[in-house]
Subunit: 137 residues, 2 copies
Amino acid sequence: MNYSQQRNCILNIVCSNPIHPTAEQVYEQARNIFPRISLGTVYRDLNQLSQMGALKKICSSYGSVRFDGRTDPHFHMECTCCRRVFDVEKSELFSPEKSIMDSCGFLVRRYEISIQGICRDCREKNRDLPIDKTEKR
Amino acid sequence: MNYSQQRNCILNIVCSNPIHPTAEQVYEQARNIFPRISLGTVYRDLNQLSQMGALKKICSSYGSVRFDGRTDPHFHMECTCCRRVFDVEKSELFSPEKSIMDSCGFLVRRYEISIQGICRDCREKNRDLPIDKTEKR
DNA sequence: CTACCTGCAAAAGGTTTGCATAGCC
DNA sequence: GGCTATGCAAACCTTTTGCAGGTAG
């Protein structure tokens, strides 16, 4: 992968922003530096960066995907009212309800642990890449 | 809310299906019973049902939202290869890596706890509903 | 009868992609 | 010079919405 000013700028935006921005938000900021940058490039670069592990994709319950420059182990909580996404340190778990409320005043209504990995079937068949991007199960 | 055959059928499909179907998958099955049902209706009904707590919306990392008829506390793990979503019992946590591998052979690569609730700011302003559907943060 | 629900079709996001040009090495 | 990345625009996919007609209570 070649160096590119745009990709580098996008990485900096995400890493220096604790707000877990959406692609659209990254785009807005990137345009301050590269006025002619396109949204397509932002998406492409964000996906590349997250595939190489430089940043993390996090899925929000409200439409668009968000990106996180913190790659160390930690979790997220989303306010169902203002929809901001906050960080939670791993040590504040588990169980989150009381310790989070005590430490930062966030009232936990629901939480879900989403785990990604490879299931037994796929491991037994030595698969570790998506079978087919378009296949639905 | 009035009774409706279609909504009832949709609820049954989700509840009797442990595959955490997408709206599209529910639509396919519903058409076996109501050949003229529309995708719009499926989305409308699924959203209503999840708002009244009859089922749960779960967000997958691969595009579309999925629905779950199990409403008791449990979590999910998604195979990054076949993209199926499996249930995890709450007792198998925490920490998931070893216990899940031992009990069902799923190799945990990443996991994330996503928590939803109300942040301190919103609570102090007595807000508990989204400020503005279209507002971005 | 009235309110709610449906099918249909169009619109609205959000995200990806094809192509010609520009930039990195 | 060759490969990669970019801007632009169109396409794509998922989800929502407006409307006219149908169904439940």
